[in-house]
C-alpha cells in the first residue's frame, strides 16, 4: 500500500487507477506534491511561479467530486508542472526572459489546453535557460539556476531543467518540456526520468515560445514509459495554429504487453555517434544492451550516414532561425538579453541565406539516407548524453583523456534527431558515480509505438526508474 507521502513519486497511470479504485483522492496526491515543494523547492529552484495552494485545493476537490460521480476524465486531479515557455491562461509566461517578465497569456497553449480538457491541474511554471535557447544547465541569467536533485552541486540539464528537477524531486507528477537539441532528453537523463521528444509535428506548439521553428519539438518528462505514452495519446493531433502538425494522427492509442518480451524486435546500436562516451556511461549502456538481448531482441551495430554533416547543418539552421525570431525584440530591447542568448542572436546574423538554404536542403538529403538505414532495425539505441551531469560551473568534460566543451559534447547524441525530426525517448538506464545515466531509444517517423514497446519492456525488468534522490534538508 502506497503511503500518502509516496504518492508524488507514483506514475500517472497508477495514480489514475488509484483514484478510480478510491484508494486515495486527488487531495492526497496534491498534499504529497505540495509537501515536497515546501521541503525541497528552496534547495532546487525548479519553479519560477507557483499557483496558490487555495486554488490548487479547490481544483483537487472538484476532481474528487467528479471521480466520485464517475464523470472524471483521464488526467483528473493529477498535478503537473509546465515549462515557462508554454502558455497557461492567467499564469505568467516569461520564457525565462526579461522581455516577457510581465507577459500573462489569456489562453492556454494547444498542448496545455488538451491536458486541461482532460482534467490536469497545473501547479506552476518551471525554470529554463533564457528562451530555452542553447542551454544545458538551466542557469537562467535573470531568474537564477536550478539544481540537480541527485547532487545539488551538479546541473539538472537544460533547457527543461526546472521541469526535470520538479518531477524528479516529487514536486510534480509529470511535466511538459520543449526540445530543440536535447532539452527534454538531457534533463531527463541527468535527473533519472523518462523524456519523450515525439516525431516532429506530432504535438502542436502554438502557445509555446519558439526557439527554431524547424527543430522545436514539444515533449514530456515522466517517471515511466507508459506515462509518456499516456500523455502523448492526449496531446497528439493536429494543431490549427501549427502547420507542422497537419499529418499528426489524432488520439493515438498505445497498447502495452502484460509480459515483457522483445522477441522478434531488431535493436540497432548506433555505432558511430558524433561523440564518444565516458567509461561510466559506456558501462551502463552496454549493460542496457544486454537487457534488450535478454528480453529476446536481436541486436546489431548500425552506423548512420552523414554524421559529420549533421553539426554544420543543424547550426546553420538553428542560428538564423533564433536571430529571425528575436529580430524585433533584439533591435529594441537588446539590453534585456543575457550574455549567452545575445551572443547566439548576433551569431545568427553571420549565417548567409544561401548557407541556411543549403543546410535545409542537406537536412532532406541526410534524412532520406538515415531513414533508409533505419529500415535495418526497429529501434536504435545510443546513450542520451555521453557523460553524467557535470558540476555547476564545469565548462569542459573529459572523455578518453581529452577535454571537450560541455555544451558541445552533451548535445551531440541528441541534436541529430531534432534535425531529422525522428521520435526519440530517454529512459533511466542505470547509474555511474551515483548519478543517473539515460538511454535514448529512436525510431523512424510516427513509430513511437516501437519506442514505447522497447522502453516499457526494459522498465519492466529494471528498477532504475524507481530510485529517488535524497535531497539534504
Amino acid at each position: 500500500m502506497t503511503t500518502i507521502s509516496e504518492l508524488a513519486f507514483e506514475p500517472l497511470t497508477s495514480l489514475a487507477q488509484g483514484f478510480a479504485h478510491h484508494d486515495f483522492e486527488p487531495e492526497d496526491v496534491l498534499d504529497s506534491v505540495v509537501d515536497n515543494i515546501h521541503r525541497k523547492e528552496k534547495a532546487l529552484h525548479s519553479f519560477l511561479y507557483l499557483v496558490d495552494e487555495k486554488s490548487l485545493r479547490s481544483e483537487a476537490q472538484s476532481a474528487s467530486y467528479k471521480i466520485r460521480q464517475g464523470s472524471a476524465k483521464k488526467l483528473a486531479g493529477l498535478p503537473f508542472a509546465v515549462k515557462d515557455n508554454t502558455d497557461v491562461a492567467g499564469l505568467p509566461c516569461t520564457g525565462g526572459s526579461k522581455i516577457l517578465r510581465d507577459n500573462v497569456p489569456l489562453k492556454d497553449a494547444h498542448s496545455v489546453s488538451r491536458m486541461r480538457k482532460e482534467g490536469a491541474i497545473i501547479l506552476g511554471k518551471t525554470n529554463l535557460d533564457e528562451m530555452a535557447a542553447f542551454g544545458i544547465a538551466t542557469n537562467n541569467p535573470h531568474y537564477g539556476r536550478t539544481f540537480n536533485p541527485w547532487d545539488l552541486t551538479r546541473i539538472p540539464g537544460g533547457s527543461s531543467g526546472g521541469s526535470a528537477a520538479a518531477v524528479s524531486a516529487g514536486e510534480a507528477v509529470a511535466s511538459t518540456g520543449t526540445d530543440t537539441g536535447g532539452s527534454v532528453r538531457i534533463p531527463a537523463s541527468f535527473c533519472n526520468l523518462v523524456g519523450l521528444k515525439p516525431t516532429f509535428g506530432r504535438v502542436g506548439r502554438s502557445g509555446t515560445i519558439s526557439m527554431c521553428w524547424s527543430l522545436d519539438h514539444f515533449g514530456f518528462l515522466t517517471r515511466t514509459v507508459r506515462d509518456a505514452a499516456f500523455l502523448l495519446e492526449i496531446a497528439s493531433g493536429p494543431d490549427p495554429h501549427d502547420s507542422a502538425t497537419i499529418g499528426s494522427p489524432e488520439a493515438a492509442s498505445f497498447i502495452f504487453q502484460r509480459e515483457p518480451t522483445l522477441r522478434g524486435m531488431k535493436v540497432g546500436v548506433f555505432s558511430n555517434p558524433i561523440s564518444p562516451s565516458s567509461d561510466g556511461v559506456n558501462g551502463v549502456f552496454n549493460k542496457a544492451i544486454g537487457k534488450f538481448s535478454e528480453l529476446g531482441a536481436s541486436t546489431i551495430d548500425l552506423a548512420l550516414p552523414d554524421v559529420d554533416s549533421m553539426t554544420p547543418t543543424i547550426f546553420a539552421i538553428a542560428l538564423p532561425e533564433v536571430a529571425a525570431y528575436h529580430e524585433e525584440w533584439y533591435k529594441t530591447k537588446k539590453d534585456l538579453y543575457g550574455e549567452v542568448l545575445r551572443g547566439y542572436v548576433q551569431l545568427g546574423h553571420t549565417v548567409l541565406a544561401t548557407q541556411y538554404l543549403k543546410a535545409q536542403r542537406a537536412k532532406t538529403i541526410i534524412l532520406e539516407r538515415v531513414i533508409q538505414r533505419l529500415r535495418d532495425c526497429d529501434v536504435l539505441l545510443v546513450p542520451t548524453a555521453p557523460a553524467i551531469a557535470p558540476k555547476l560551473d564545469q565548462d569542459t568534460i573529459q572523455i578518453g583523456g581529452r577535454d571537450y566543451p560541455a555544451f558541445q559534447v552533451l548535445t551531440e547524441n541528441t541534436y541529430p534527431f531534432n534535425l531529422l525530426g525522428l521520435p526519440t525517448m530517454s529512459i533511466p538506464a542505470g547509474f555511474s558515480d551515483g548519478m543517473p545515466v539515460g538511454l535514448q531509444i529512436i525510431a523512424t517517423h510516427w513509430r513511437e509505438d516501437l519506442i514505447f514497446k522497447a522502453g516499457d519492456a526494459f522498465q519492466q525488468v529494471t528498477d532504475h526508474h524507481r530510485r529517488r534522490p535524497e535531497i539534504p534538508a
Binding site: 547543418t313 551569431l347 546574423h349 553571420t350 538529403i365
Partner: protein
C-alpha cells in the same frame, strides 16, 4: 531608386553588429558552419530526390566537361 537610398537599404541589413568578444568566443562554431556547409554540396543525392536536387550537380558536371 537613387544610389543613396539603395545604400541605406543595404546599410539597414547591417544594423545588428557583432561584438568582437562574441566572434572570438565562437570562432570554432563559425568555422564549423562555414567549412561544414561548403562540404554539404558533396553529399550524395539519393536517386529518388535527384530530379529535385540535381541542378547544381548537373551544372558542376557540365563545367567539368568544358574544362576537359
Amino acid at each position: 531608386m537613387d544610389t543613396g537610398a539603395l545604400k541605406k537599404l543595404v546599410a539597414d541589413l547591417e544594423k545588428i553588429s557583432i561584438e568582437e568578444e562574441i566572434l572570438q568566443k565562437n570562432a570554432g562554431l563559425l568555422i564549423t558552419i562555414s567549412e561544414g556547409v561548403a562540404e554539404l554540396d558533396n553529399l550524395p543525392i539519393p536517386p529518388e530526390t535527384e530530379p529535385f536536387f540535381s541542378r547544381s550537380t548537373v551544372h558542376k558536371t557540365e563545367s567539368k566537361k568544358e574544362s576537359n
